[in-house]
């Protein structure tokens, strides 16, 4: 099935989205954040916590910031200390954690030697990341990429070891992607917690150790079922780039990563989010991590039919930000969702139009499709039926990343049988309707074609408006999700700074060079 879209309009939409993001990118390029600097520290091998439980990447960045040295970038200070003290970055960080010395107070070493040290540390880090990426790519080839839509389920017990048990059960029943939901409010922490964790609320903390534990478990079960299993986590929040960094180090396949989600739904400062998302996505682009964007959230708060064009608008903006980070389209999980009120007449037709529009606008991408949540009730039997329709739309419109709806959505985190029932439902529908999309065409000027056309037209006018006022001002106006955020408000604003003239971020520069030259 295909949509008769006005290709000139599609081109115009993309051009507008590009111009909108060009403006923001200029803003981004001049700035860095605490989290971006902590990311560099992590890539240089700094990990662990000090005696007070503060993560060492935070300790070193805080130390340099407190002494007003961060404008130069953390890389220089770490390398300078390594040379002066003949220590590794980790040893340096441990000493800073113990307050033995401050990085800024160490005497500047000979520039050429420090530069050499920076190159060496960067080289080692990049090489390791490339090895991990190649290992993942090879495994994917070896086990084979499953058919789309990929069956994506969540685990959210709060305990990583319990998550592993449930994830393995889900994979043996047919899950292709396991997402470990994060503990409520982790997005608002300005640090990444450390070590394996067994307590969380509504999910499990994203930590490097937890990533490693689940990665290992999934690789084991993948070998058993003979199918590649993807691991997903969440990079939204105050630590977007750091989460991407530990995901890249531990070989995750996907990250929730939206250029505006944190601003709108977590009230994280706009400047912080824009700057952070760039580094975060660059790492994803470099390490072949698929990003999942968060447009589904808009229509949880505003009307899914009237405001469908805001989803399209944001999708196009997210795509442009991802392209700026050097990302290939196949790693873009462009988000949308089936949130239409089940009482709406022809709701299914609206939904088909919207889902097909996403698929048609991003033919090279891997759209991420989200199930009903807003109109799920305690009637789990009806909920199961709603999910069946959702599964049908997904397979017929050719979605890629298919997040399974749970019949107990809005009641509790999924029980083990909820997940099983959801997988059975999806497998049943996907198999029964496998070729439906190839066999059906929608009537010219019929309901579906008209609706898709209308949404695209509305998206173009909205993009026109956003272009004229600027993206940041349009967020202030409440354009997305009917939520308004001011440029200087929100959490994490104090962690944004303008780079100094001598600012240097060798890891980011190296990654930019590699993704842009297509060396990968």
């Amino acid at each position: 099935m295909h949509l008769d879209l006005d290709q000139n309009l599609v081109r115009k939409a993309r051009e507008l989205a590009k111009e909108i993001t060009d403006d923001v990118q200029k803003f981004i390029d001049l700035r860095s954040t605490d989290s971006v600097e902590r990311t560099v520290a992590r890539f240089y091998g700094i990990d662990g916590v000090d005696a007070d439980g503060i993560p060492l990447p935070n300790s070193v960045v805080y130390d340099v910031k407190a002494h007003d040295g961060l404008k130069r970038g953390i890389a220089y200070w770490i390398a300078n200390a390594c040379v002066a003290k003949s220590m590794s970055p980790q040893e340096v960080a441990e000493s800073v954690g113990k307050k033995e010395f401050s990085l800024v107070e160490i005497r500047p070493q000979k520039e050429s030697i420090v530069a050499e040290k920076i190159d060496e540390l960067t080289e080692v880090s990049i090489k390791k990341l490339e090895e991990t990426k190649n290992e993942r790519d090879d495994l994917l080839k070896e086990f084979g990429d499953p058919n789309q839509p990929y069956i994506y389920v969540i685990v959210a017990t709060g305990n990583i070891y319990e998550d592993v048990i449930q994830a393995k059960a889900a994979v043996s029943e047919g899950a292709d992607i396991i997402a470990v939901i994060r503990s409520t409010a982790q997005s608002l922490l300005d640090f990444v917690p450390f070590g394996p964790t067994t307590e969380g609320y509504g999910g499990t903390y994203a930590t490097q150790a937890n990533f490693r534990i689940m990665r290992k478990a999934l690789d084991e079960v993948a070998a058993k079922v003979g199918r590649y299993v993807r691991l997903t986590n969440y990079a939204s929040g105050l630590c977007m780039p750091e989460i991407s960094a530990i995901a890249a180090i531990e070989g995750l396949d996907m990250l929730l990563n939206d250029s505006m989600y944190g601003i709108l739904f977590r009230n994280i400062n706009m400047m912080r989010t824009f700057v952070d998302q760039y580094t975060s996505r660059l790492i994803c682009a470099f390490s072949h991590i698929t990003i999942n964007t968060g447009e589904d959230n808009y229509i949880k708060t505003s009307d899914p039919i009237d405001r469908a064009h805001t989803v399209t608008t944001s999708q196009l903006i997210n795509e442009q930000f991802a392209l700026k980070a050097g990302m290939e389209p196949k790693y873009m999980g462009i988000g949308h969702a089936f949130e239409i009120d089940p009482d709406v007449e022809n709701g299914l037709l609206y939904e088909i139009a919207h889902a097909l529009l996403t698929r048609s606008l991003f033919p090279q991408a891997t759209p991420k499709y989200m199930p009903p949540t807003r109109y799920m009730t305690g009637n789990i039997f009806k909920g199961y039926a709603q999910n069946t329709l959702y599964n049908l739309v997904s397979v017929m419109t050719g979605q890629s990343i298919h997040l399974l709806g749970m019949l107990t959505e809005a009641i509790h985190t999924p029980l083990v049988q909820d997940r099983y029932l959801a997988i059975s439902n999806a497998k049943y529908v996907f198999k029964n309707a496998k070729a439906l999309g190839e066999d059906v065409e929608f009537k010219k000027d019929g309901f579906v074609q008209e609706e898709a056309r209308k949404v695209l037209e509305n998206a173009v006018s909205l993009l026109d408006h956003v272009k004229s006022v600027g993206l940041m001002a349009s967020i202030e106006e409440g354009t997305f999700g009917d939520i308004s955020r001011k440029i200087d408000e929100g959490k994490g604003a104090d962690g944004v700074f303008v780079k100094g003239e001598d600012y240097y971020n060798p890891i980011i520069e190296k990654m930019e060079k590699i993704v842009r030259s297509g060396e990968l």
């Binding site: 393995k168 409520t184 809005a410 049988q417 099983y420």
Partner: protein, 249 residues
């Protein structure tokens, strides 16, 4: 009520009066097979069920077995002895509320809403407060009688109390969706404690809502009312108007 029913001893109704039929579905952490089935039956029998019909026992992976069972319970309940605590909601439409508030209170009722603590979910709160409301039932912002401040998600209880003072709130409306490990109890209690400590608890109509909130629980925690799943904005509006108007000023 169905005629000729002895309300002192009612049982679940499957397809005959008092047949006691219940459908159950659950998982045991053991591999599927005859032994798993027998274990499930034994478990159900121990709960006071008879006529156990196991219609499904299925391997759901990872050495788990899922069961669907129909069985008859030997328990009954005396309906006449059941007492519940329910929020009394008067029937009042949007116009009536607006008229009465402007006539008797002569100002707007100030309502401050938030989700507190770690809860990031604003769906419930927004459905009740936002202009648009829920399923065609207008939210409180639509009422001229109300001045609504929606503070959004993850507001620390202390901050909520501070804002309520600042806005001179008549009503605080808290939404709690995440209830894992009883975290909501802790947060809701904290809010009451702060209001008590600041000696303003009596001045404020304190309401909590959420899918797993009951009026009984709310009252137990020191709230004036609790609204659970299925609550419409108009229910909350009528309750607030009624209570504010009845309040001795």
């Amino acid at each position: 009520m169905i005629p000729n029913l002895d309300l002192r001893s009612i049982k679940p109704y499957g397809d005959q009066t008092n047949d006691g039929v219940i459908q159950l579905s659950f998982t045991l952490p053991v591999p599927a097979g005859a032994r798993a089935r027998e274990a499930a039956k034994t478990l159900i029998a121990s709960m006071g069920f008879s006529d156990i019909q196991m219609v499904l026992s299925e391997d759901i992976g990872g050495d788990f077995t899922f069961f669907v069972v129909y069985a008859k319970t030997n328990k009954y309940v005396d309906y006449t002895s059941i007492k519940t605590l329910e929020v009394e909601i008067p029937k009042m439409g949007i116009e009536e509320i607006n008229d009465k508030i402007s006539k008797y209170l002569k100002r707007q009722v100030v309502i401050v809403g938030a989700t507190i603590g770690s809860d990031a979910h604003t769906i419930g709160l927004d459905s009740i407060l936002n202009m648009k409301g829920y399923h065609g039932d207008s939210g409180l912002e639509r009422y001229k009688a109300f001045k609504v401040y929606n503070l959004g998600s993850q507001i620390p209880p202390l901050e909520l109390v501070k804002k309520s003072r600042e806005y001179k709130a008549d009503v605080i409306l808290v939404s709690q969706i995440v209830t894992q490990r009883e975290i909501h109890i802790k947060q809701l209690t904290e809010l009451v404690d702060i209001l008590d400590a600041e000696k303003i608890r009596d001045k404020i109509l304190l309401i909590v809502g959420g899918p797993r909130i009951t009026h009984e629980l709310a009252v137990e925690l020191g709230y004036d009312a609790g609204f659970g799943a299925g609550t419409m904005p108009s229910d909350v509006a009528a309750y607030i108007a009624d209570r504010i108007l009845k309040k001795p000023s």
